[in-house]
Subunit: 254 residues, 4 copies
């Protein structure tokens, strides 16, 4: 065979073994790594320290579940239409993790990465706030439709990070950005869970481009809980009925 143009460092297998990132799956990973440890190893190429595992677990737990969200509603409706194909409900629900809900840590992570290398933090904070305000764009990682005045999740993530001595620079920066935003807005806008997760994930070496994917993994767990309940309650049928009853046809074509 000629020289390959592209290679992979992910995994390989033969008739009797499977190798993942250089480790023998059967003898070195199964039973020795937790899911969270293998996830960290798989996406960063490095073994997680105990602190890194604990913080990644905290982030995964933070975003797994938030009750009735678009992703949960979609997962239930799609599962009810395909009850023998669980992957459909889960994948359909995960598609809702995007720029609007639960997918905003990536943008916040990129901001933090930029700010950490800025020569003057205060100037940088002011400029970032002005840039978003003049474009009338929400700052990723800030604001929440329901949790006011403050999303309760960030303080807990910050506390765990502080106990473990990780992500200190990122969290300090996020708080300075928050202060600059509040001052410019003339009111308090909460740091939300995705903002806090962006700081923590950056602090343990997860690159911004993969942060939304961490949400997707986390929410996959949450959606399986919804599907478990859907098998019992068939809430999707009630969602459908509610739409039929409360969003009526208004009888014209335009």
């Amino acid at each position: 065979m000629t020289q390959p143009r592209v290679t992979t460092a992910i995994a390989t297998s033969d008739e009797t073994s499977i190798t993942v990132r250089g480790r023998d799956l059967v003898h070195e990973l199964i039973g020795k790594f937790s899911f969270t440890e293998l996830l960290y190893f798989h996406i960063t190429g490095r073994e997680a320290s105990a602190a890194e595992t604990r913080l990644l677990d905290a982030c995964l737990v933070t975003l797994m579940e938030h009750g009735w969200t678009p992703s949960a509603l979609i997962a239930r409706l799609a599962h009810d239409s395909n009850p023998s194909q669980t992957q459909i409900g889960m994948a359909a629900g995960l598609l809702a993790i995007g720029d609007v809900f639960a997918g905003t840590m990536e943008g916040c992570g990129r901001l933090l990465a930029e700010g950490l290398s800025a020569p003057d933090t205060d100037t940088w904070c002011s400029e970032v706030v002005q840039r978003h305000r003049s474009a009338r764009k929400a700052m990723p990682g800030f604001g929440h439709p329901f949790h006011k005045p403050d999303d309760p999740r960030p303080p807990r993530l910050f506390q765990i990070a502080a106990e473990l001595g990780r992500a200190e620079a990122e969290i300090a920066l996020l708080k300075r950005l928050s202060a600059a935003l509040d001052e410019a807005a003339g009111r308090h806008i909460t740091i939300n869970a995705t903002g806090a997760m962006a700081a923590v994930l950056h602090g343990i070496g997860v690159p911004p481009a993969l942060m939304r994917g961490v949400s997707v993994v986390s929410r996959a767990g949450g959606l399986l809980g919804h599907i478990a309940e859907e098998e019992e309650t068939h809430a999707a049928r009630e969602v459908w009925r509610l739409a039929e009853e409360h969003i009526p046809y208004r009888g014209d074509a335009t």
Copy 2:
């Protein structure tokens, strides 16, 4: 409000708190539960014992990654088409976890549940094997296209379960079913990873209807690893080029 037709036990929230399955997310779950522990609690409604957590982790690790699979190829191709929307690549890849690959533990789990309550195990094993053979259907949990004579993952899962004293009845039944299948087929057909996972998951109380979903959660982690690498190597473009080069147009319409 009138009496609701359907309720949920999943989660609720107010301005300053989030409750998941009766627990305060911030004070009782974040930092205290691992992802795997919360997943177990979320889908079964019960807190996992240490043994249950270890076995669920072992299952999640087992199926996270197997190199070039349809799900990995799809995730990379879809991500390359939507590099700013990580959820698309991941959801598209997860859709490939179905009746053919990685989604067969559900069928095996249903078989095991049936067999555990059968009055005569040997008779039941023979009947199940005959039922599948006469319908020319593969028995879920058995056979593997590459791993021969044996998939290396089941023995490791069985070993961990034995150490923890869990899933003994299920594993014993799976092995008797395997013996009956080999005898009827006149050759050895391996117990595969999804068969072993079905036994272990049943042994820790995960219902068959949710077993495929456990694969989906696991593989979500694996696909994030592929996306991490795809950002560097752009293997999707090479997959596309290979198809163009090696699967040529043959020049007629039928």
Copy 3:
């Protein structure tokens, strides 16, 4: 290059031309084929007659839209979460076309193909009805949750087919099957739109394996209409609010 293992008859292109199924896209297809004509040509490899085009159009129109369906609810919720990525809402909604809703013409088409070659139609009808009743399975193509006593779409499709002299054997068979089902059930169960479409599509040479895909194409058009309206009304937010209000948390973990 060595002999290819697999080839394609779908399409090819070079720097200045595109060929689809042996035709020059620019000079032979664009502006000369309607979408429906090219769809027929593309999936069957044969040019549609005027009657075939008219019947395929009738089928595509029949299933495009049915108001609040799971697919429409999903498409709106997913679009609201990803307003700049229209393909997400559409793809998520299309995932709901499955064994339960709008995807059942495939099963009905397979039945019809089987029945058309049965030596004795009446015996075959009885056997098919008994087979489904003893397995407690709905017969694909029959029954509708809302349209009673009869789905209004099949008679119209049958009328158009009769005018064009197509699908006569399939429609006659479907009606005999319907009579056998009613007799066995002791009540009238409507032929539904997917049953009628299965007969018509079979009559114009669309194989059963592709019939569900025709629904998917059709419904893709319907979902774009929902997305058009969603951009104005944001009904997805109301669906979410309704779920929050009417499907309350019941306060325990199990």
Copy 4:
């Protein structure tokens, strides 16, 4: 019931009828509207003229098929993993229609809408070109990786539009934008199919926000052709084999 917060003008139904955008589906649409005519009516709320139908058909035909594309590869791989669930392969493939491939008419349509109301077209063209060049962003609707020097599809779409006397202002603007781009780049960059479609669709009253959705509908038809062939050739297995053979594991973890 209290006053509804949101209503819909899409569709309604009762036991014996279905109404779509104010028309009786059975008596006014099935057999009278082509798929393309109903699509136009459904997304714009207006009946299409013959010219509008012909142009929408031309756009739908233009983008239906382009051989091996990411969407086709994904559809085949996902279908091979779920052969009984056609909607999965199609939906997975459609997810690849995004900012990179086949989804760029939306951005071009927004540009054209902006330019049509600009006071001085030449100044506006120069500014748009500069804006994209200084941000190092490709101009939506321009450039193609394979078709050089020119994508063959736009001239054909322009010709049909000219024959029908539609989209003249949009096409003229697109050509002036093209000239400005070529001048600034110092080389010729083709108007691509999505650019031409944006001009034509805008000319027949399809809003930019729905243009990508038109691609999705069109490509849904193309993907069904790939699935039809996949059922015969199993090219997905060859794609998988090619990846295994040509993108090898390189044996380290980073």
